[in-house]
């Protein structure tokens, strides 16, 4: 077994809403190993972005409560002082943000922005920094690196900017990359280019990657292991092949059935009943997905749903997966039974 790079243990991130704290990340445990891409997938409000920001310590300190452990390099990041944390961020952990249009300082040159983390984490002369920066720009597939070095963000296209954001994350040879929806804001062909670039870089550099995304296509293209989140909890963890071949949790299965690109015909897409409850309205007792699959009887759920190893290295929360079915599938079956009898 490979060495773990990052161990998140029972992480709970709560936000203050009108005086009370509500957990957006509710007891999440995830381990990322060397040279492993772990995708965290879920819809908006499931807590995946809050999780990434918690690991990096990027939440506003006021109004946010963090519990649990984020173990990295022998220390718990959650308990570090700001100055100790600054020695880790940008050096051993690099972060890639969603929107390259806003993630770069509009008033600083590209060169300056890539060199900045080196100022704090590496002892390099100005010329060494420049040399390294130009090399990074080439590595992320920018060909006219000399020119781009001098340019400002607004002079570059979205795809180019995202390459720059990746170069910043890679500036100090991190062992872990946190990528928060790195391709969501990009055009289709640019998205494919950035995915391929990240795959290539990962192959070369053997960094661990946490990939936060809502797009199961991106998961299928990039991940080694997948963590599915719903309403602040992990509901399923499996290797990527296993997850796409044999999804277990009702939420994972529903999600896979609602993507058009996953369907061959013009059949109806699966619709998940109801809506994701808000943080304040979420019922934290019992199976959180139960209200959205009301046709599954209450006794099929666990009272306090736990993660179970349903297959080797395949974990799923609650027992409702065992009897779960899609009502639209049963309609046909019943008719079939009726005509047969």
């Amino acid at each position: 077994m490979k060495n773990p790079v990052l161990e998140i243990k029972d992480l709970r991130t709560s936000f203050n809403i009108k005086g009370d704290y509500y957990a957006a990340v509710d007891g999440v445990s995830i381990t990322v190993h060397e040279n492993e891409v772990v995708a965290i997938v879920g819809e908006s409000g499931c807590g995946k972005s809050a999780l990434a920001l918690s690991v990096m310590g990027l939440h506003e300190q006021k109004n946010t409560k963090l519990d649990g452990q984020v173990n990295f390099g022998g220390q718990n990041l959650l308990t570090l002082t700001r100055s100790r944390l600054d020695k880790v961020r940008g050096k051993d952990i690099g972060m890639i943000f969603q929107d390259p249009m806003t993630a770069l300082n509009p008033l600083a040159t590209i060169g300056r922005q890539i060199e900045e983390p080196m100022d704090y984490h590496m002892k390099l002369s100005a010329s060494e920094k420049k040399k390294r920066t130009l090399e990074l720009l080439r590595r992320v597939g920018i060909k006219n690196e000399q020119r781009v070095y001098e340019q400002y963000p607004h002079e570059l296209s979205g795809g180019m900017r995202q390459r720059v954001v990746i170069a910043i994350a890679l500036a100090c040879d991190p062992v872990l990359l946190l990528a928060d929806e790195p391709t969501t804001a990009l055009d289709v062909t640019i998205q494919a280019q950035i995915m391929d670039l990240m795959k290539e870089l990962q192959n070369q550099m053997k960094t661990g990657i946490i990939l936060i995304t809502h797009d199961l296509g991106v998961v299928a293209e990039m991940a080694d292991r997948v963590v599915v989140m719903y309403a602040g909890e992990v509901v399923e963890i499996a290797d990527v092949k296993e997850l796409f071949e044999n999804p277990l949790h009702p939420y994972t299965r529903s999600l896979l059935n609602s993507i058009p690109s996953n369907m061959e015909s013009k059949e109806k897409l699966h619709v998940i009943d109801g809506i994701v409850p808000s943080l304040q309205n979420l019922d934290r007792n019992g199976c959180r997905f139960a209200p959205r699959i009301a046709w599954i009887p209450q006794e099929d759920h666990e009272e306090t749903p736990e993660m179970h190893e349903a297959a080797p290295n395949h974990f799923v929360r609650c027992s409702c997966y065992k009897t779960f079915y899609f009502p639209e599938d049963r309609v046909g079956e019943r008719e079939y039974v009726a005509t047969n009898s």
């Binding site: 990096m56 990027l58 100055s83 940008g90 943000f97 806003t102 993630a103 770069l104 300082n105 509009p106």
Partner: protein, 322 residues
């Protein structure tokens, strides 16, 4: 870049012509003219005499003739004679320009010295007690009329405490050019400058505080923190740098704007500047002086705006013109 500056300069010409036209019309529309003012206290003047003088000053010509004559001379720096002072307006103004420029310049510097640190503190530590204090000060300063505050300063520091002189721009008994003369000028400046500055910080503090709060939530600040940039540097290298650039750009505008805006302060402190002259001339219906002053301060605003545009395009790469 040169092309942009040239274009921007040419664009000023129609603005200035329009400005001069409006000023001329307004001046004409005011009740009474120079003659009524000058003869107000003289019941012996006969209508024939007044008519003769009106004719002599060209006040009976059609408006466009008067406008053309006035503008043509103004461009050459000749604003005509002041009826009440019986000397060329240009000489009259020149004697006071220095005082007003000094006052505006020091007021602007003071405004920045007070407003920038306060704006930064309030923006960086929002909702702290310091922020609440600064915001309160800002509201009070916003609500207080300049002349009330200036009178208060005058009363406390000049009248009660006697720390500073309360009238004029220099002690007239001291010979000009000496060290003592400079000190006297400085002493005379303190109260007017402080009165203007303490009230004048409102806009800058407000802008800076809001902009810092706004910048703090920007994504690229998250990027900076994720790079491991220490918090102090996040502010100095990213937030403050970006928030202060527009303030630097507005410098030109702010200073030229003050030239027309120190009317109350100068009048209250009997400071021999353009603002005081302006009020006096209005009271005396000294039409030539008033129009000249409005034209000058109006031009200052137009030029200041242009300067700000040019500075902004120099410091912000996003609007840099190729």
């Amino acid at each position: 870049m040169l092309k942009f500056i040239l274009r921007r300069t040419l664009l000023m010409i129609p603005q200035l012509i329009l400005l001069s036209l409006v000023i001329f019309m307004l001046a004409k529309a005011m009740p009474g003219d120079a003659i009524t003012g000058a003869f107000m206290g003289n019941p012996d003047a006969t209508p024939e005499q007044i008519e003769k003088i009106r004719e002599k000053f060209g006040l009976n010509d059609p408006w466009y003739v008067q406008y053309g004559r006035w503008l043509g001379k103004a461009v050459q720096g000749d604003f005509g004679m002041s009826y009440t002072h019986q000397q060329p307006v240009t000489t009259l103004i020149a004697g006071r320009v220095e005082n007003t420029v000094l006052l505006s310049l020091f007021t602007a510097i003071m405004i920045y010295l007070i407003a920038i640190p306060l704006g930064i503190i309030a923006g960086r530590w929002t909702d702290s007690w310091a922020d609440k204090l600064i915001v309160t000060y800002n509201y009070v300063a916003f609500a207080t009329p300049t002349f009330v505050f200036a009178l208060l300063m005058l009363f406390v520091f000049a009248f009660v405490l006697g720390w500073f002189p309360y009238t004029g721009s220099v002690d007239i008994k001291i010979e000009s050019g000496t060290w003592a003369y400079m000190v006297s000028r400085a002493e005379h400046l303190v109260l007017p400058v402080m009165s203007g500055a303490i009230i004048g910080t409102v806009g800058t503090i407000q802008y800076l505080r809001n902009d810092i709060i706004d910048q703090k939530t920007k994504e690229y600040i998250k990027t900076a923190r994720a790079k491991g940039v220490p918090e102090g540097r996040v502010y100095s290298r990213h937030i403050l740098r970006n928030s202060l650039l527009p303030i630097a750009a507005f410098l030109g505008y702010e200073i030229t704007g003050l030239i027309g805006g120190s009317v109350f302060i100068e009048t209250i402190f009997s400071y021999q500047g353009l603002g005081q002259l302006f009020i006096q001339s209005i009271n005396l219906r000294d039409f030539t002086v008033v129009t000249a002053l409005v034209l000058i301060s109006g031009t200052a605003v137009v030029v200041g705006t242009m300067l700000s545009d040019i500075i902004l395009s120099l410091v912000d790469p996003r609007i840099r013109i190729e």
